[in-house]
């Protein structure tokens, strides 16, 4: 098992895949320098979000509904949106996979719902694949 620092470093490395370093080295930009800058941004994003979480807990308006909705229900809500948008096949496949996802200890993971929450947060965030002509 790796530490959080090592795992964040690995995540930075993943996001640097596909970047050409030969040309960058000529411009004085080293892989290590970019990696350091990325780690700084990653920690910045992580810490700012954690501090926001700390302040929102004390708000008088109470927790917002989506914050208390279980991630499995959020996936079902996305599936509903897909159906409304006419993507029946994707919606059915999504519900089928959600049904296959084991709960609790039987999944072999401790935090399967946290991972599902992450996927919900990242839903639709990828750049769409290039259209072929």
């Amino acid at each position: 098992s790796s530490s959080i620092t090592e795992l964040l470093g690995a995540l930075c490395d993943c996001s640097l895949s596909g970047v050409s370093w030969k040309r960058r080295a000529l411009g004085g930009l080293s892989r290590e320098g970019v990696r350091r800058a990325l780690k700084k941004r990653a920690y910045g994003a992580l810490l700012s979000k954690l501090f926001q979480d700390g302040t929102s807990k004390g708000s008088a308006s109470g927790p917002c509904t989506t914050a208390t909705t279980p991630p499995r229900n959020k996936v079902l809500m996305i599936s509903f949106d897909l159906r409304v948008a006419g993507c029946q096949e994707e919606a059915e496949r999504l519900e089928e996979q959600l049904g296959r996802l084991p709960e609790g200890a039987s999944s072999g993971l401790k935090e399967v719902d946290a991972v599902l929450e992450l996927l919900v947060q990242l839903a639709g965030s990828a750049t769409p694949p290039p259209t072929s002509f």
Partner: protein, 73 residues
């Protein structure tokens, strides 16, 4: 003892396959390698919302790197 560990390994593998497929259907842009790292970070107690901000931030940074690379080509 060994069979229990094997059973757990199989359970993890199956769960990862399902999570990867859900990830693909939700268009999250995570590949198996990044998903595995994210799973381990969640297992370490990192808040998923905070982790999603980190991933989006890293994407912005790497996209701007790649864009500047295309401009110089």
């Amino acid at each position: 003892m060994a069979s229990a560990a094997n059973a757990n390994m199989n359970a993890v593998r199956e769960t990862m396959d399902v999570l990867l497929e859900i990830s693909r259907l939700l268009n999250t842009g995570l590949d198996m390698e990044s998903l595995s790292i994210c799973v381990r970070l969640c297992e370490q107690g990192i808040n998923p919302e905070a982790l999603s901000s980190v991933i989006k931030e890293l994407r912005k940074a790497s996209d701007s790197l790649k864009t500047s690379e295309n401009c110089t080509n």
